[in-house]
């Protein structure tokens, strides 16, 4: 039974394995160089009091950074090329008729057919995430880019495992539902990208209530280092947004008359008149909490999709 699954899907496994090894070699080499640069920088910056610029250290590594960012698409590839054809190919070729009239029951066949690809996908996702997390280590330590931001959050830690499992589960369910390879792939692509975008954009920033702080007006970016800033605005006593600046008429009369050299004093004056910077952010320390929440969310969705696939296979006619 397991040998059957391996025989049918070994080519995909080989391709995925080869891609992972190639990426691994590339990241290993560049990662070691990055770590060396970072440690060299740390050794010298303390003396030069320039450690705050660590974030710019890796700004020049464009191509490799793009490649690493592109690993965000890997779970989708698993969904498209492992998940979607897994059952859809059987239906398209009619081989489900062959498999379902052998001596084992449909549920046992399905258990084995989907379990191994799901586990393998999880393993691949974990290997990739570990590799990227390690590679990103120096950048994470330098605090740039922000670890909670899209493209950074999505490719390290534990979420890639959940994305990969979810993508494969989605492909399996789409294949069980649509029974054709190309439509199943199209559905997997649409649902996966759509849902990932919606969750990253609208749900993730609010997994935990953001930290809200009130600061003097026109203070610029005052969020702690590495935080994901949700909003950063100078508000007036009337609650309106004055981030772009105040017109002369909008400045309270008491605070007029400061020259451009005295903007600090003018801001202090504005603060006493109810102007303040309102900032909402998710602190960098919540990285693992957010990883846990998002992982849980996608694993629950994956479980629901697997349940759909079971229902389709066990209750619908061949």
């Amino acid at each position: 039974m397991n040998a059957l699954v391996w025989r049918l899907h070994r080519n995909q496994a080989y391709v995925a394995g080869a891609a992972l090894v190639a990426l691994g070699v590339l990241l290993l080499i560049t990662g070691i160089i990055m770590a060396r640069d970072y440690h060299a920088f740390l050794a010298s910056c303390a003396a030069a009091r320039s450690c705050g610029q660590a974030g710019q250290l890796f700004a020049g590594d464009g191509a490799i950074t793009t490649l690493v960012d592109a690993t965000m698409a890997v779970p989708l590839l698993f969904g498209l090329f492992w998940g979607a054809p897994l059952l859809a190919r059987e239906f398209e070729d009619g081989t489900h008729d062959l498999a379902w009239t052998q001596g084992v029951t449909r549920i046992r066949w399905l258990n084995h057919t989907i379990l191994w690809p799901l586990l393998a996908a999880a393993g691949w996702g974990a290997a990739l995430a570990a590799l990227v997390s390690w590679w990103r280590g120096p950048q994470n330590a330098a605090g740039a880019p922000v670890r909670l931001a899209t493209f950074t959050f999505d490719i390290q830690g534990i979420v890639p495992v959940a994305y990969t499992v979810f993508a494969v589960a989605l492909g399996i369910a789409a294949g069980a539902l649509l029974r054709r390879v190309l439509p199943a792939m199209a559905a997997t692509f649409t649902v996966f990208t759509g849902l990932r975008f919606l969750i990253a954009e609208y749900a993730r920033p609010h997994y935990l209530a953001p930290v809200s702080r009130s600061l003097p007006p026109f203070i610029g970016n005052a969020a702690p280092h590495g935080a994901l800033v949700l909003s950063n605005a100078t508000l007036g006593p009337d609650g309106r947004n004055y981030t772009a600046g105040l017109g002369f008429q909008q400045v309270p009369p008491a605070c007029r008359g400061y020259g451009p050299q005295a903007s600090g004093q003018q801001n202090s004056c504005l603060a006493t008149h109810g102007f303040h910077t309102h900032i909402l952010y998710q602190p960098a320390s919540r990285f693992w909490a957010f990883q846990g929440i998002e992982t849980g969310l996608f694993l629950v969705l994956a479980a629901a999709l697997i349940a759909v696939a079971y229902r389709m296979i066990l209750t619908r006619d061949a």
């Binding site: 039974m1 040998a3 008729d97 379902w100 009239t101 052998q102 084992v104 029951t105 449909r106 549920i107």
Partner: protein, 302 residues
């Protein structure tokens, strides 16, 4: 539970509906064990639907079906007792015949690849090449070998020879006859061409217009049908007291294909025997009028 004396297959009022359309309707047949049964009918008569229900691949909308006394379903006992070869012989394209035999060993508790290997060797079918490189006839043989390697008690074959050239067809049917000859195997084999099956089958199930029309031993069916030819007369009159399957009027004479319920008494009829193909075509309503209502079964002539 399998009753030792249960028929190979038995259906009662079996029907399958896809949306508003019936793919199979009012199908009541009973096939005793040990027969090679031809399942014939026009395209769309429900042959595939009936076989899929019997193989446990689809659930009936109405009525009941049983195979060896067991309701087709997801039990190892039922699945182990049937062999099924779907239309167009689906196989895993990239796998070889040997791979398929290995795969069957994983998917079945009872598995006997010996005979299958021997058959493939005898037919000089390369067992180590991907099946996608084999000819249609060779693939059909691989499919049959796989179905037989399960050592099934009931073998269900859906149009296995439809796509084969005449030589491959003959070879396939020879393999089938050989397999059916040894042991307690019941076979249901469907085709829209009766001609293919007449030589290997001793039993007939005829589906027409999605309803069973005829089911019985071929010898009994032949014995129970006659063509009556006589002077032209009104068909309603002529058919009185007879079960008319098909009536044809020529300018001078009336020709009736009838099912006998007793001896033909009217001496003005010339009574002749009739071939199976003509009987089947008459039931399928080819040309002429189908005078008889749906018949569900025919037993031995008493």
């Amino acid at each position: 539970m399998s009753a030792p004396n249960a028929p190979a297959i038995n259906t009662a009022g079996l029907g399958k509906r896809y949306g508003p359309a019936w793919a199979l309707r009012d199908c009541s047949v009973s096939v005793p064990r040990g027969h090679v049964s031809a399942l014939v009918g026009s395209n769309g008569a429900g042959k595939t639907t009936l076989l899929k229900i019997l193989a446990g691949l689809s659930a009936p909308s109405t009525g009941t079906a049983s195979v060896l006394g067991r309701v087709p379903g997801q039990t190892g006992e039922f699945l182990g007792s049937i062999g099924y070869l779907a239309q167009d012989v689906p196989l895993y394209k990239r796998l070889s015949a040997n791979d398929h035999l290995g795969l069957g060993a994983h998917l079945n508790h009872r598995w006997d690849p010996g005979a299958a290997r021997a058959r493939l060797t005898a037919l000089r079918i390369p067992a180590d090449r991907p099946v996608s490189t084999l000819s249609g006839g060779q693939r059909a043989q691989v499919g049959l070998s796989l179905a037989l390697a399960k050592r099934p008690q009931v073998l269900l074959l859906d149009e296995p020879v439809a796509a084969l050239d005449p030589l491959a067809r003959r070879e396939f049917l020879a393999s089938l006859t050989e397999a059916a000859a040894d042991g307690d195997l019941s076979v249901i084999v469907s085709s829209h061409l009766l001609h293919d099956l007449e030589r290997v089958c001793d039993h007939l199930i005829l589906l027409a217009a999605s309803r069973t029309q005829l089911c019985g031993d071929i010898d009994d069916i032949l014995a129970a049908h006659r063509v009556l030819v006589g002077p032209r007369r009104d068909i309603d009159d002529a058919g009185r007291g007879l079960t008319v399957i098909k009536a044809t009027q020529a300018s001078r004479q009336t020709r009736l294909l009838v099912r006998l319920d007793g001896p033909v008494l009217d001496p003005s009829w010339a009574v002749t025997e009739v071939g199976l193909e003509d009987i089947v075509l008459a039931y399928m309503g080819e040309g002429g009028t189908l005078a008889a209502g749906p018949l569900t079964a025919i037993g031995p002539v008493r």
